[in-house]
């Protein structure tokens, strides 16, 4: 834990910081596969550039075992992606089924087990849809064509004379019929298929989709409603102990001395100290926690001074890397535009730190056997956790296996593998498997949070009310979503690092939420200064046709003009739009402010979203609903409070996430744009909600709230007014 900005694990293209890594082509032993996934015919595929999620080497083709035909008629498909509620399991299952020409229930998707699956990169940044789905489709299609060619050779007919439907290959003659399952049962074919298949295969076009584009339910949904599914925190191994870690009383504190005698006298307790790491393991969590408490009573710490939340924005400003060495994106001359402007506006916006707070906190089980380490953990990139663990214990990666069971939420918060590391250390010391389950308080305190932001804006309008200058300095959150989609001849846009008092990292859509909040709220301020309707003002300047389309759609469904005209006192309407990760969003909201008690009620949210061809409509709807509701938290109430190196509200009773009672009437309009590749849909729908609310507040009360969260500030300003 340091008190500096952790850029190494922060910004969304996280693997760009890892270009020094070499990725060996995927190799696996046939024997291990047979042991783990059963008998069948494994098909090895050479994957093209679509598989190369990492931007550093797009040309290299990787060899991946993606597909195995099983003798029971099912087909195993392998992917390194993790399922954390975003729907990857379903979507990848559909993709494989589509290209193999089978129903989705024939696919057994094996996810995130380093012993079995190719490295598909981190599950983050909305990358599963644009990168992994094409890679899986390509692998599945290559397998299908290999089978077609094999059958054609057997029957001595041309491959394109065959049809494949529901896993059955049919030839021109009546007796020419071959099932995938038959091929899986023919061991003499193994050699034929062992050579990597390399086909330039056309994928099924959107118009011909049979399985993709459908609302296929999550394959393991039944295990979720019956409690049978084992999340990372539910894994139990024979003889397993539960581990607890001694945490520092404040960030940056170092352990000077500690006495283990009380803990060591407790029955069945294992105590471990390695440098600053102190942990205890015991047959149950209660005893492990009691042992750590006994140790904590004796611990002497050296603390360091730490910036508190009341000084946060001054601190970020003071340490902002905005000097002469910064490299803003510039166009024309902002200074000239401002000098020539009829109207110049300046404003700054603040965004507080928030936590992801996935309902399942970090959890892992580690087990050492014959010098080999197996870890079950809730992490977003099993192969990186594997490398991190191997590095920490000084062993080759082949001796570490990481398995990520479908886990209880992440939202960008589980890129790191702390619990896995802790469990592995304790398991090694205890000589038996150990589970480490972080408490909610640990998750709030020691997990990285979404960066706070200070964003300074300047805008210039000419006599016609046209935007002529745009100056946007975003301090600390990162560069996601920082570009403006509006036409402006003079601009200066800078993403500046700073010194973050809290450990920070990725979050659903990361900086795009802060940057869109500031940009869309400031556009609203400019529209008001230009005495223009906020919708007209945006449409007049928008240079992006996809954003324009969703903005117009949302405004039409919301009946923007009439709703705005007819609003009653203390009611307000606001809108916002934006783009990120190649998808586009617009939201309109209607609110009512209660001046007496300083509260706000959201009466209606109307959001339009487009991310190319929709691969699973029900799944996408869940993601958009989830983004809107999740976005309400940091927009209205969520804020990590901290002082003297301590988080002051590390619990749900003090840190209010959205609940059922916060659900407003929401209508969502998903645009199915089929003439382009699909983009991910689990992040961008979050970015429009906060600025739309901020703009509606202005519309209702006539003053601006320039910070997230907004409710406290609104109540305070209403009181002052």
């Amino acid at each position: 834990m340091t008190a500096t900005t952790r850029t190494d694990e922060m910004y969304e293209p996280i693997f760009d910081n890892h270009t020094g890594q070499t990725y060996a082509p995927f190799e696996l032993s046939r024997r291990c596969f047979v042991q783990l996934i059963g008998a069948g015919l494994l098909i090895t595929i050479i994957e093209g550039p679509a598989a190369a999620q990492r931007g550093d080497d797009r040309s290299r083709q990787s060899v991946a075992a993606r597909v195995q035909l099983n003798t029971d008629g099912s087909i195993s498909v392998m992917t390194g992606k993790v399922e954390e509620g975003q729907g990857a399991r379903t979507q990848i299952t559909q993709a494989a089924a589509e290209e193999l020409h089978v129903r989705a229930d024939r696919i057994r998707l094996i996810m995130a087990d380093t012993e079995l699956v190719p490295d598909d990169g981190i599950t983050a940044g909305s990358r599963t849809t644009p990168y992994t789905i094409p890679a899986v489709r390509q692998g599945a299609a290559a397998a299908r064509e290999l089978l077609r060619r094999y059958a054609a050779g057997q029957w001595n007919v041309k491959p394109d004379a065959l049809t494949i439907r529901d896993g059955i290959i049919t030839g021109p003659e009546a007796n020419q019929k071959m099932e995938y399952a038959d091929l899986a049962r023919a061991p003499e074919l193994a050699d034929t298929f062992r050579r990597p298949a390399d086909f330039d295969v056309d994928l099924v076009s959107v118009a011909d989709w049979q399985v993709m584009g459908e609302s296929v339910p999550r394959p393991n949904a039944r295990d979720l409603v019956t409690g049978r599914h084992r999340y990372p925190s539910d894994i139990v191994r024979p003889g397993m102990y539960y581990g607890k870690i001694l945490r520092a009383p404040s960030f940056g504190a170092t352990l000077e001395s500690v006495d283990f005698s009380a803990a060591e006298q407790m029955k069945d307790v294992v105590v471990l100290r390695e440098g600053q790491f102190v942990g205890c393991a015991a047959p149950n969590s209660f005893t492990a926690a009691a042992a750590v408490d006994a140790v904590a009573k004796t611990a002497k710490w050296k603390t360091i001074s730490h910036v508190s939340d009341k000084d946060l924005f001054a601190h970020l400003k003071k340490n902002a890397q905005t000097g002469s060495r910064s490299r803003p994106q510039t166009r024309g001359s902002v200074n000239k535009a401002i000098a020539a402007a009829r109207n110049v506006l300046t404003a700054s916006y603040e965004v507080a730190y928030v936590q992801h707070a996935p309902l399942e906190p970090r959890a892992a089980v580690a087990e050492w056997q014959n010098g080999k380490l197996t870890v079950w953990a809730g992490v977003d990139w099993p192969q990186r956790a594997q490398r991190d663990l191997a590095g920490a214990f000084g062993m080759p990666t082949e001796r570490v296996r990481v398995i990520v069971p479908d886990m209880g939420g992440g939202f960008g918060g589980k890129h790191t593998c702390e619990a896995a590391m802790e469990a592995a250390r304790l398991a090694k010391a205890a000589g038996r498997p150990v589970a480490v389950h972080w408490t909610r308080e640990e998750e709030f305190t020691w997990a990285y949070c979404r960066p706070a932001a200070l964003i300074e804006c300047r805008g210039a309008l000419d006599a016609a009310g046209t935007l002529t200058g745009w100056d946007f300095t975003s301090i600390n959150p990162g560069g996601a979503g920082i570009d403006t989609p509006y036409n402006v001849p003079n601009s200066r846009i800078l993403s500046a690092g700073s010194d973050s008092p809290l450990r920070q990292g990725s979050y659903r859509c990361l900086a795009a939420t802060a940057n869109n909040f500031a940009r869309e709220a400031f556009m609203d301020e400019l529209a008001a200064a230009a005495e223009a309707d906020p919708l007209d003002f945006r449409l007049r300047h928008l240079g992006n046709d996809r954003i324009r389309a969703v903005l117009q759609l949302a405004a039409e469904k919301f009946d923007w003009v009439k709703t705005r005209k007819d609003r009653q006192p203390d009611h307000g309407v606001g809108l916002a739009c934006g783009t990120e990760k190649n998808s586009v969003v617009a939201a309109c909201v209607r609110i009512r402010v209660n001046r007496a008690d300083g509260t706000l009620k959201i009466l209606h949210i109307c959001e339009a979203f487009e991310c190319g061809p929709i691969q699973n409509p029900a799944g996408l709807l869940s993601q958009v609903q989830g983004c809107i509701m999740m976005g309400l938290g940091p927009a209205l109430r969520e804020r990590l409070r901290f002082a003297d190196g301590k988080i002051l509200n590390p619990r749900f009773s003090d840190y209010e996430v959205p609940q059922f009672a916060d659900v407003p009437p929401i209508d969502i309009h998903l645009v199915n744009k089929t003439e382009m590749p699909s983009a991910g849909g689990g992040e961008t729908p979050i970015i429009a909600i906060a600025p739309a609310i901020a703009n509606a507040i202005f519309d209702a009360v006539g003053f601006r709230i320039r910070q997230m969260p907004m409710l406290e500030a609104l109540a305070r300003q209403l009181k002052e007014a």
């Binding site: 409603v225 983004c627 996430v657 059922f660």
Partner: protein
């Protein structure tokens, strides 16, 4: 201090010897291997640990295990009738009312208790009855739909 407690869980009598300070949640998960009941907050704020005790929804993370003595407990593992899902479970499946699904056991059991008290809740009553069960994927809209559907299925 250790005590031996006996209670009925999912139709089976069990006897557990445990420190009196341990929570019912921990005993269910760690001693009885009933991991369908989840930890989410440890302060009774999120509902992930909800179980039914004598038909009422209870937060097992803040309930001392010792107070389960003599009680009849249903966890998510014991809700279905063999292969036949409980109508609320079926409604959650039919609505696709889960994302990561970690809150689902607590949501389902809270909904079961709600519908026992009030078989025909209005949307407002569903919200009031379910509030306090947190879904961090924020799938509240579909969960409300699932409770509504379950109520209709039981009519």
């Amino acid at each position: 201090m250790e005590v031996t407690i006996e209670f009925n869980v999912n139709g089976q009598k069990v006897s557990v010897t445990t420190d009196t300070r341990r929570s019912l949640l921990e005993v269910l998960r760690e001693d009885l291997n009933l991991t369908g009941t989840k930890y989410g907050c440890g302060e009774g704020q999120c509902g992930a640990c909800t179980v039914l005790i004598d038909g009422r929804a209870v937060r097992s993370c803040v309930m001392p295990a010792a107070s389960a003595q003599g009680k009849t407990i249903v966890t998510i593992e014991g809700l279905s009738d063999g292969n036949q899902l409980h109508p609320v479970q079926q409604a959650f499946l039919d609505e696709g009312a889960m994302q990561c699904g970690y809150c689902t056991p607590g949501m389902v059991l809270s909904a079961v208790a709600l519908l026992q008290r009030n078989p025909n809740p209005t949307d407002e009553q569903i919200v009031r009855g379910m509030n306090g069960n947190i879904c961090r994927c924020n799938g509240y809209v579909k969960i409300i739909g699932a409770v509504r559907r379950a109520a209709a299925m039981r009519r």
